[in-house]
Amino acid sequence: MAKTASPAAASAGVRTRRQGGFGLRFVRDFALNKYLYLMMLPVVLYYAVFHYAPMYGALIAFKDYTPIKGIIGSDWVGLANFKDFFSSYYFWRILKNTVLISFYTLLFGFPAPIVLALLLNEVRSRYFKSFAQTVSYIPHFISLVVICGMIVSFTNNDGVINNLLTHFGYDGQAMLQKPGLFRPIYVLSEIWQKIGWESIIYIAALTGIDQEQYEAARMDGASRLKQMWYITLPGIMPTIAIMFILRMGNLLNIGFEKIILLYNSVTYETADVIASFVYRKGLLEFGWSYSSAVGLFNSVVNLLLLIAANRLTRKLSSSSLW
């Protein structure tokens, strides 16, 4: 604005008119919608207090927080908490565990519901199909605590899964006390619980495929396997892409609640992830600032992963979140 100095009077006139226009719009909008804004007040308050205030509170990651001094009053320490974390023995351990558990869950857990949907799609009997579907959703409705309780009981030294495996040469010790078994138990139970539920979305996508394509393929003598590969799978590809991006954005937000329920000090070396570490250091050992720094690191990495996944899928297929 300052550069257009020559028609000074004119530009000043425009500016005031614009400002007036904007202010007027402001006032008019408020007069018209004041009851709407009143209705919005609880929502705005909720987001301000329980989402944005904690984001501001995350500043304590750069401070030496003590409850007496409060968030504002505590002393700045710059990146000391982050340096502490990055140079600590735990950094590589929890990063490795987080990445590995996420990776295994993605590798086995992501295709499983797709496979289930494809299998269900091949079932001709409607009765059997809906029965299998209904049964596969059931675990989704059992609470996590109960599922973990079942895992603990079944894998205990007198548990049914443990007994079964001793026939195949397992030594019969409580399975959750073995660091090497934590990840398989985590991933398998994850699939058990979620396969049916997560397949719903793919089953929905399957119903959208044009049936004439199958008709034409049959005419040309394509086998069921070929139809599956050349028609069904491409048909649900956009859905798979979107689900993949969403999954990537949550890669580091692995079900830490389940980890906290299942792990113990013996299995920390394979089970402890960033989120469970934050919980333990922050809330059980009161390392407020340190664990906030770790949590902030987690949030930032998550955001970057989401953006990267979105870029990647946009390049590979035409679907993306934005």
């Binding site: 409705f141 309780g149 086998s223 069921r224 329920l261 407020w288 902030l296 949030s299």
Partner: protein
């Protein structure tokens, strides 16, 4: 029609059915095992190795033990409180937000949407949230599991999309008849969006029923523990012994095992009874979320 692959296709069909049957068994058997074990005779269950195909003997001792634990009843009561008031708060606040955000010609709506969607991708983290909840004085109150989770952003967006789909003409005519925003929301928008609202109730109810983590960090008073925290004590931290006080030590350990299974039954059977009736709404919800989200 040519059918060159006839035999192979038939075999494939059988294979697929067999695979699905295995899946059904793997899904259901653990639940049956829990049921059988809960009715079994404690001593025989502990001595037993391998699969169960029916209860070993028959005993209701474990169930007696479960109901002797005062925690189960207070837990159910607290969870019921969280469920009723929590879902009510969720619905009211979400519906208000969804209504305002679905209106046209509201100057600040774009800003609100950006601010709200951002929270899906970035959060301050667990510790700052704890400090805020502590700051507003909700620690050791059942409301700490309700108010800090008043809106689920994903649900808000789904509801907003549903509200947007209500035809404008209906509201216009209501406005001419002198209806205010509250009336439009309650008399027109909500009744017309009932399917989505039913889905929201179910989603929020499941969230409240299953929630234990935030209760574990915000609530220290044992009397205020929701059911899931009591379950965690019994199933995972192994505190069943206290429930069978009048038994000898060895018996306590044995009955402790069956008590665990009976506890799972007591906490899960009510849900599984409701499940067949609500299942289709959930499925609908997944579709709604998928199409709109």
């Amino acid at each position: 029609m040519r059918r060159e692959f006839g035999l192979f296709d038939t075999l494939l069909g059988w294979f697929i059915h067999a695979l699905l049957l295995v899946l059904v068994i793997v899904t259901l058997y653990p639940l049956f095992y829990v049921a059988f074990a809960s009715f079994s005779d404690a001593g025989r269950l502990v001595a037993h190795r391998g699969f169960l195909y029916a209860p070993l003997g028959f005993s209701l001792e474990a169930y007696a033990g479960v109901f002797k634990n005062p925690g189960i009843l207070t837990g159910y009561r607290n969870t019921l409180f969280i469920l009723v008031f929590g879902v009510a708060v969720n619905l009211i606040v979400t519906a208000l937000g969804a209504y305002v955000l679905s209106r046209k010609n509201v100057l600040w709506n774009n800003f609100f949407m950006i601010v709200i969607v951002l929270t899906m991708f970035f959060s301050g983290g667990l510790i700052p949230l704890y400090l805020i909840v502590k700051g507003v004085g909700l620690i050791d109150s059942l409301w700490s599991t309700i108010i800090p989770f008043a809106v689920n952003t994903f649900n808000l967006i789904i509801m907003r999309t549903a509200f947007q789909a209500v035809p404008d003409s209906l509201e216009e005519s209501a406005k001419i008849d002198g209806a205010n925003h509250w009336t439009i929301l309650m008399r027109i928008i909500v009744p017309l969006s009932m399917p989505v609202i039913a889905v929201m109730i179910l989603y929020y109810a499941v969230e409240k029923w299953n929630g234990w983590f935030y209760a574990a960090i915000f609530i220290k008073d044992h009397k205020l523990y929701p059911l899931q925290l009591i379950l965690r004590e019994i199933l995972i931290s192994n505190s069943t012994e206290s429930m069978a006080t009048d038994a000898s030590n060895a018996d306590r350990f044995q009955i402790g095992e069956t008590i665990k299974y009976a506890t799972i039954m007591v906490a899960t059977v009510p849900i599984l009874c409701v499940y067949p009736f609500v299942q289709k709404y959930f499925v609908k919800g997944v579709m709604v979320g998928a199409l709109k989200g």
